[in-house]
């Protein structure tokens, strides 16, 4: 008996002494060690999350808010956007993705790069970081920036948009100052295999976009244009997409592919963009047919271009069913555009116009349209003639350059980057609201009331059942702070209202 007691005591004693090792099992075998990670392992994660948000959700809502898109017959998934309604909940997961997966990953890369003085990586990460922060400000107006990405501070303060814009410009300048054109850059999908030169050019173009948006100094803008060290082509995620699930271009994967259970159709063309790209006279005869239209929207079931009215899904109609409407052109391998050549040229045109150089402005305006046509896949040999046709319909007016550029840019971005179209619409304030309202073109009780010919090319119109707090004749200027922030962060400011412009649109 005593023996047993002694043995038990011994076992207990042994257990106690080896306790420390026995207990040291709390490092997750499911995670790589932090020390095993490097920029090439983390950077692609940031890129694909940025492409996932920018190329899908932001593309969709931008499309509705800029009157490129309406909701198709029969479904109602995005009908609220079509009425210019945005809620704190709707954008929440995108806000989460941009912060915790894009910016967090970029922070890791910047840290690795700084430690190892890999300035090419540092510039690449800083450029995408600046791009992401600009996007966040363009949605919400204010976001946590100076106190952000710090796990010890659960309630970071929001910074106003101007502060964020200034901050990211300074960051870009800092990173540009460190990187040399020949520096190598970690694994990435934007400029695979290319040295830092490609990123320097992209960073310069991004600076132009940021400065132009915020109304930055013309001296700075002029110097950038003078230097002209911009990308030679569109900056986009292209060539990396595949046709398998998990590899498809995000907008296509979500709205067109059949991987997520049954796919409902939502997004179809708005009368505003169709009516501005295929301009008709009062008899319905086509006055101007934009060559980019087939690249942006599919024809409807009858082989025509038709546009729905914001705010309705024609659910009470017996004639205007889903085959009556035009879906956007999309494919599994479609690019996710971050910044196009055409936009750079539009910013140049704007700079020249602003500084009174009308000739140069008009040339840049034409070049921007031509470049947009190249992006739409039009043979460069024809692009010049087609641009001349375009400028006959939409001539450049120095006296009203914001209108000319605003409308031209809105059209150019329709099938390329609807979110940027929505931003520039708010800043340039063109196209502007015309006198025709959505209810003038369709009243939901009577199919005969659908009269798309009432639409005036190059204008916006108030959606049917326009979201009350936005009100007819107004754009949705900003989004309620994302629920994942406002419900969790006591320092989230109170919402200034749907029609309070973001600082650059005031």
């Amino acid at each position: 008996m005593k023996k047993l007691a002694i043995i038990s005591t011994l076992i207990l004693g042994l257990a106690a002494t080896s306790c420390n090792n026995y207990m040291d099992i709390n490092e997750s075998p499911n995670s790589p060690k932090e020390s095993d990670l490097n920029s090439s392992i983390v950077f692609p994660a940031a890129e694909m999350n940025l492409a996932g948000s920018y190329g899908d959700y932001l593309r969709i809502v931008g499309g509705y808010f800029a009157q490129y898109y309406v909701q198709t017959f029969g479904t109602s998934n995005y009908l609220d956007y079509s009425r210019f309604e945005q809620s704190a909940t709707r954008s929440s997961s995108t806000y989460t993705q941009l912060n915790s997966r894009v910016l967090k990953s970029l922070q890791l890369v910047r840290n690795y790069a700084e430690q190892h003085e890999e300035w090419g990586d540092y510039l690449a990460a800083t450029t995408l970081r600046a791009f992401t922060y600009q996007t966040l400000v363009d949605c919400y107006g204010e976001v946590p920036y100076t106190e952000a990405l710090d796990a010890t501070n659960a309630t970071p303060h929001y910074d106003d948009g101007q502060t964020v814009y200034n901050g990211i410009l300074a960051e870009l300048n800092d990173a540009l100052g460190k990187a040399k054109a020949t520096d190598r850059v970690c694994t990435n999908f934007l400029f695979p295999g290319q040295p830092a030169d490609a990123w320097i050019k992209f960073a310069n173009a991004l600076k132009l976009k940021i400065l132009s948006r915020m109304g930055g100094s013309d001296a700075e803008i002029g110097a950038l244009i003078e230097e002209g060290n911009f990308p030679a082509g569109d900056v986009a995620y292209q060539g990396c997409w595949g046709t398998e699930s998990g590899a498809m271009s995000p907008f296509y994967a979500e709205e067109f592919a059949t991987n997520w259970g049954s796919t409902q159709q939502n997004v179809v063309a708005n009368i505003a963009i169709i009516g501005s790209m295929q301009v008709k006279d009062s008899d319905g005869g086509i006055v101007y047919d934009d060559p980019r239209l087939p690249a942006f929207f599919q024809k409807n079931g009858s082989g025509n271009y038709t546009g729905g009215i914001s705010g309705t899904n024609f659910s009470t109609s017996s004639s205007y069913k889903s085959t009556y409407w035009c879906r956007p052109v999309a494919s599994a391998t479609m690019p996710v555009y971050l910044l196009t050549m055409s936009e750079i040229l539009f910013f140049e045109a704007e700079y020249y116009a602003r500084t009174g150089k009308a000739d140069k402005a008009e040339i840049a305006y034409g070049a921007a349209v031509a470049s947009s046509m190249a992006t739409a896949g039009i043979d460069p040999a024809q692009a010049l003639d087609l641009t001349v046709d375009y400028m006959a319909q939409w001539p450049y007016e120095q006296a009203n350059y914001k209108k000319s550029i605003g409308i031209a840019k809105w059209i150019a971005l329709a099938g390329v980057n609807p979110f940027e179209g929505y931003c520039e619409l708010r800043r340039l304030k063109y196209p502007a609201f015309g006198s025709v309202k959505g209810t003038d073109m369709y009243n939901e009780t009577d199919d005969a009331s659908y009269q798309p010919n009432k639409y005036v090319a190059g204008t916006l119109y108030a959606p049917i059942k326009c979201f009350g707090p936005v009100g007819e004749g107004n754009l949705l200027q900003r989004w309620p702070y994302a629920e994942s922030s406002s419900a969790r962060n006591s320092n989230a400011p109170s919402f200034p209202g749907y029609t309070t412009p973001i600082f650059w649109a005031q």
Binding site: L12, S87, N99, N259, S490
Partner: protein, 1067 residues
């Protein structure tokens, strides 16, 4: 009666006297309460070793030695009686003064007399647990234990239950008690649906659900921290101790064979109330392809519906098919059989128990797609090798197979049913042999399809196995000391397979799709596999010292022990998309594109050192002191040790007053206890995971490896290296009273439980870089009362009526939140669709689970503010509704009537107050199928008493014809905005009625049996819900079975009523 049977063993001193000279006497021992014979009572001739046990008729026959005529008759649970022997005598035994003399099993398998306990412990015996013939023992507890709330995820076969004792303390998710079977903790494994299924079910695949209720001797619920402290950190939510049956001597036989078999049927009990006035259509107009009833008024005319396929179209009468949903469901059948053999060896040194059970359950859905099968084998044996050593071993095997029909959007059946227009007949579409019965030409292409087709073609199958048991040695080096070593193990695995069929329609034969082509239903299909393994090992070393001093007045009981615990789970998940074979071939090789695999391992260890001292004086005052120290692997290395003490005091004050017939027994008790708790695994160091990106609806829109590149990103949760253990502190005061010789028993408890420094994964602003931060979270308090009253209003020789009440009221409050939150709030669960959202939150100063949503706005004088369209103006942010998920109080009434061999019992369960989220309710108005959607007969109206923001009167009507009537329901919840999703959770539920007949012993013994019992039962007999709830059984949940599950339901499958009969035989 069962108790008497099981107590045969009590009199081990049996020996047959042989004497010389001698009077022979015969007699009968009867119960004073009901006049029934007592079987197995010990009859002993005083001053001799002569004695015997009474037979099945309570009869005994003794030969009295010369000069001896006093006999003592005793039986456990009765007061012993010494009488003068007479031939043909009848001895009536009176039940013990109090059932509180009953022995209960408390922490670490330590047995105590109920009356000495300083805390609340409620025991249910086998009879109470098996009356309703429920497959799962936790279901059988419902309504019977004060302060315990049982919720079911649904009444689908094989679904797991939620058991919450004394309210929600842990905000972090796990509020389920620890189950301990014969001293061994069981891993409670519930399988919840994958992300793709949106967690629409919760199958029980291990743990307590695999215990055959017939194997259980009794179950004790330990509620307070003082009661559970010895179990350590895992017992913070209470402990349910299950003691299984062991081998016993059965009268004259050394063994007993029992059979128990039942058949029951289930049928749908609760369906939403539907309107029968309007038919298929949308926004007031008739459509042929809409899934809803927003069309014109039903007029009995003949109408076509659905697409034109191959120049054919379906026709029907445009009139209500009132039972189109009810008729879809069939009655499910449950059969169960249980056989057991138990006994002791001839020399009484060895006991054995062997049982086998089989349960097959088929739910209410057509065909055999919702089924649950369970086979269990239980063996136990003990051997007393010498008088100082006993070896025992238990081994249990369980195997379950579950087919589940998960409810969710997609091609789910529940959507297919609930959105079905009121004028179409569903049962006519069950044959699946025509294009009109499949997605190819189903009447609607809007994301749902024929529910019969969905059930037939979606696959969700789970095979699980569990092995658990123990090996134990008990050694008594000296009489007062018992040394125990116990090795306990529990291994569970499951293989879960999920298959969604491919739908690849080309619309080639569709002549007219009426606006939206069936090919919009196309999906590429997928197969997903999970292989899951989980084990838990426990080593317990326990020393118990018990002795009495000062002439038996001082009662000392000391326990010291060590527990070493290891828990491990690992699983591998695989998924493949784009199926090659559209349906039925559910292997990963079916994927035409890529197959993804991922594996995970989680392991934790815990070492605990504990001690417990109980001192009693004169069977009047008992003082208990407990302490435990744990070392946990899941806490930061330098802070992984934590200590927590407890103390209890009980005072049997009736020892001070003379015996009387009014106050039979009285005890006051007080308890203070602490329980520490550790974190989940891997919550200290930063973690990284393989990168992915989400879309708005689709998760993993982009998956790595991507285009030949792999990538990692930081986990959305950041750990903390400064975690402290969380600590639950509980104070409890209680009173036990027995009045009028036990005719009234009262057990009252007041408790105050606070949980400090909860280890919580706090949702944080993602701009911190993370969505969740592991942190020690403020303080949550549960304070409440529990009252249990058991009465026997009538007791005569042949008739007995028992009536029991239980009542509990728990007040929950979030006392403080983490400082880092700066007065913020925390989302516990949420639902959002479009611009609608409902949140369940923890907010400082409010009860846990406050519900927030977008609300209508009113002027100061109470007028509803509307927008330019004449629709209510919603708040920009979600607001506090003032409603929360907690009940105001819960209660239950149980009653039983016995007349001779007949017994009738019933259990009624009441829950008052609390709200829940109901997607079913929302769906009823989205589709226009719900009764509420015929407001104002769907005629135009201006919202009464409404104004614009500027104060001008609202004159804009809401019309059916332009869709604004429907919008008023869909987007503005008929003026209630987001509150339209909430329903009052109150109910009164007649949970069970059982009528049983126990055949007379005389008849039974002629059949060479010892017991025959037949019973008829009905469960979930009727539920009365709050008048505003015309939709669902408020007990269901779609979000698993804990705090999250309190939120409510997202298209839950309907609740069921079961009725059946049972045969119990004992040989």
């Amino acid at each position: 009666m069962k108790k008497r049977l099981t107590m045969f063993l009590a009199a081990l001193f049996l020996c047959m006297g042989t004497a010389l000279a001698q009077t022979k006497v015969t007699g009968t021992v009867l119960s004073q309460e009901d006049g029934q014979p007592i079987i197995g009572a010990a009859v002993k001739v005083d001053g001799t070793s002569t004695g015997m046990l009474t037979d099945v008729n309570g009869k005994f026959s003794l030969t009295l030695p010369h000069g001896k005529n006093q006999i003592t008759v005793s039986y456990l649970g009765y007061e012993a009686k010494t009488v003068t022997a007479k031939n043909g005598m009848r001895v009536f035994l009176k039940a013990d003064a109090t059932s509180l003399d009953e022995v209960v099993v408390t922490a670490m398998g330590i047995t105590r007399q109920q009356k000495t306990l300083g805390y609340s412990a409620q025991t249910l015996d086998n009879e109470q647990l098996t009356a309703g013939k429920l497959t799962d023992v936790t279901s059988a507890m419902a309504g019977k234990v004060a302060g315990v709330q049982i919720n079911t995820t649904s009444s689908d076969p094989g679904q797991a239950n939620s058991v919450i004792i004394r309210g929600i303390s842990s905000i972090n998710g796990n509020n389920q008690p620890l189950y301990v079977v014969d001293g061994v903790p069981l891993v409670q494994t519930n399988f919840r649906g994958t992300q793709k299924e949106q967690d629409q079910f919760s199958n029980a695949v291990g743990g307590v659900s695999n215990i055959n209720p017939n194997d259980i001797e009794n179950m004790t619920v330990l509620k307070g921290a003082a009661a559970t402290a010895l179990y350590g950190s895992r017992a913070a939510n209470g402990v349910i101790i299950i003691t299984t049956k062991t081998g016993k001597k059965n009268g004259e036989r050394n063994f007993q064979i029992s059979y128990d078999g039942s058949v029951s049927w289930r049928s749908v009990a609760t369906l939403p109330k539907m309107q029968n006035q309007f038919g298929q259509g949308w926004n007031g107009k008739q459509t042929f392809i809409e899934n809803g009833s927003w069309g014109p008024e039903l007029d009995g005319s003949t109408q076509v519906y659905g697409p034109i396929w191959n120049h054919q179209q379906l026709i029907h009468k445009y009139e209500a098919v009132e039972n189109n949903i009810k008729d879809f469901f069939e009655s499910g059948v449950n059969t169960s059989h249980s056989v057991s053999l138990n006994g002791v060896s001839g020399d009484q040194k060895m006991t054995y128990y062997l049982s086998y059970s089989y349960t097959a359950d088929n739910g209410i859905l057509p065909g055999d797609k919702d089924t649950y099968k369970r086979n269990t084998i239980a063996t136990r044996a003990s051997y007393k090798a010498t008088d100082w050593m006993k070896i025992s071993a238990n081994m249990n095997l369980a195997k379950t197979n579950t087919n589940t029909v998960a409810a969710y959007q997609g091609t789910s059946f529940i959507d297919g049913i609930m959105e079905f227009p009121r004028d179409l007949s569903l049962v006519d579409r069950k044959h699946l042999n025509s294009a009109f019965d499949t997605p190819e030409a189903w009447y609607t292409p809007y994301g749902i399809t024929n529910p019969y087709w969905a059930i037939e073609n979606n696959y969700n199958h789970n095979d699980a196995k569990q092995v658990f048991g123990k090996i134990q040695a008990d050694i008594n080096p000296i009489k007062q000391l018992t040394l125990t070593y116990r090795f306990g193990f529990d291994y569970t695995d499951y293989d879960h397979k999920l298959g969604y069929p491919q739908i690849a329609l080309d619309d080639a034969l569709i002549n007219n799709d009426y606006g939206y082509a069936p090919s919009n239903m196309n999906q590429s299909g997928y197969v997903s596999d999970t292989y899951y393994r989980k084990y838990e090992l426990n080593h317990d070393f326990l020393a118990n010292f018990a002795d009495k001093y000062v002439g038996g007045k001082l009662d000392l009981n000391v326990n010291v022990g060590v527990n070493i615990n290891e828990r491990n789970r690992n699983y591998m998940e695989g998924q493949t998309d784009d199926l090659t074979f559209y349906s039925g071939f559910w292997q990963l090789s079916n994927g035409a594109t890529k197959t993804t695999l991922a594996d995970y391992t989680y392991k934790r260890r815990l070492v605990g050192l504990f001690g417990d001292v109980s001192i009693g004086w004169d069977e009047m005052i008992y003082l208990g002191l407990t302490a435990r120290n744990d070392w946990s692997s899941t806490l930061p290395k330098d802070k992984n040790s934590f200590f927590y003490p407890g103390a209890t005091l009980s005072w049997i004050f009736t020892r001070l007053i003379p015996k009387n017939n009014v106050l039979t027994f009285g005890k006051l008790r007080a308890a203070f206890g602490k329980t520490g708790n550790d974190a989940d695994e891997y919550r200290v160091y930063p973690n990284f995971l393989q990168a992915y990106s989400n879309g708005y609806y689709g998760s993993d829109l982009t998956k790595f490896p991507f285009n030949g590149v792999n990538a990692f990103q930081a986990s959305s949760t950041i750990g903390s290296n400064s975690l402290k253990p969380e600590m639950t502190t509980e104070i409890e005061f209680g009173l036990n009273l027995a009045l009028f010789n036990n005719r009234i028993n009262i057990d009252f408890a007041w408790y105050n439980r606070t949980t400090d420094d909860q280890i919580f994964t706090l949702p944080v602003d993602p701009s911190t870089g993370y969505s969740y931060m592991v942190t020690n979270f403020g303080k949550v308090r549960n304070r409440g009362i529990e009252l249990l009253v058991n009465t026997t209003p009538i007791q005569t020789k042949d008739f007995r009526w028992e009536l029991g009440f239980n009542f509990s009221k728990n007040n929950n409050k979030v006392v403080s939140m983490p400082e880092s939150l700066d007065g913020g709030m925390v989302n516990l669960n949420s639902f959002s669709a479009g611009s609608d959202a409902v949140y369940m939150r923890a907010v400082e100063g409010l009860p846990m689970g406050e519900l927030f949503t977008y609300l209508p706005q009113y002027t100061a004088d109470g007028k509803l503010i509307v927008d330019a369209n004449g629709q209510p103006l919603k708040t920009t942010e979600v607001k506090d509704t003032g409603k929360n998920v907690n009940a105001d109080w819960t209660g239950g009434v149980t009653t039983s009537l016995w007349y001779k061999g007949i017994s009738l019992s019933a259990a009624l369960d009441v829950r008052k107050g609390g709200y829940m989220f109901s997607r079913t309710k929302n769906l009823m108005q989205f589709t226009g199928n719900g009764e509420a959607t015929i407001y104002n007969q769907r005629r135009p109206f201006v919202i009464p008493n409404s104004v614009h923001e500027d104060g001008t009167e609202n004159v804009t009507p809401i019309y059916r014809s332009d869709g604004s009537y429907q919008t008023w329901f869909n987007d503005f919840g008929a003026n209630e905005v987001g509150e339209f999703y909430l329903i009052d959770r109150s109910f009164v539920k007649l949970r069970n009625i059982t009528l049983a007949y126990q055949f007379p012993k005389s008849l039974v013994s002629k059949l060479y049996l010892s017991d025959i019992t037949l019973s008829l039962f009905c469960n979930n007999v009727f539920t009365w819900t709050h008048k505003a709830n015309r939709y669902i059984d408020p007990e269901v949940s779609s979000y698993g079975n804990d705090l999250e599950g309190m939120f409510g339901e997202l298209y839950s499958n309907p609740a069921c009523r079961t009725f059946g009969f049972n045969v119990g035989l004992k040989f």
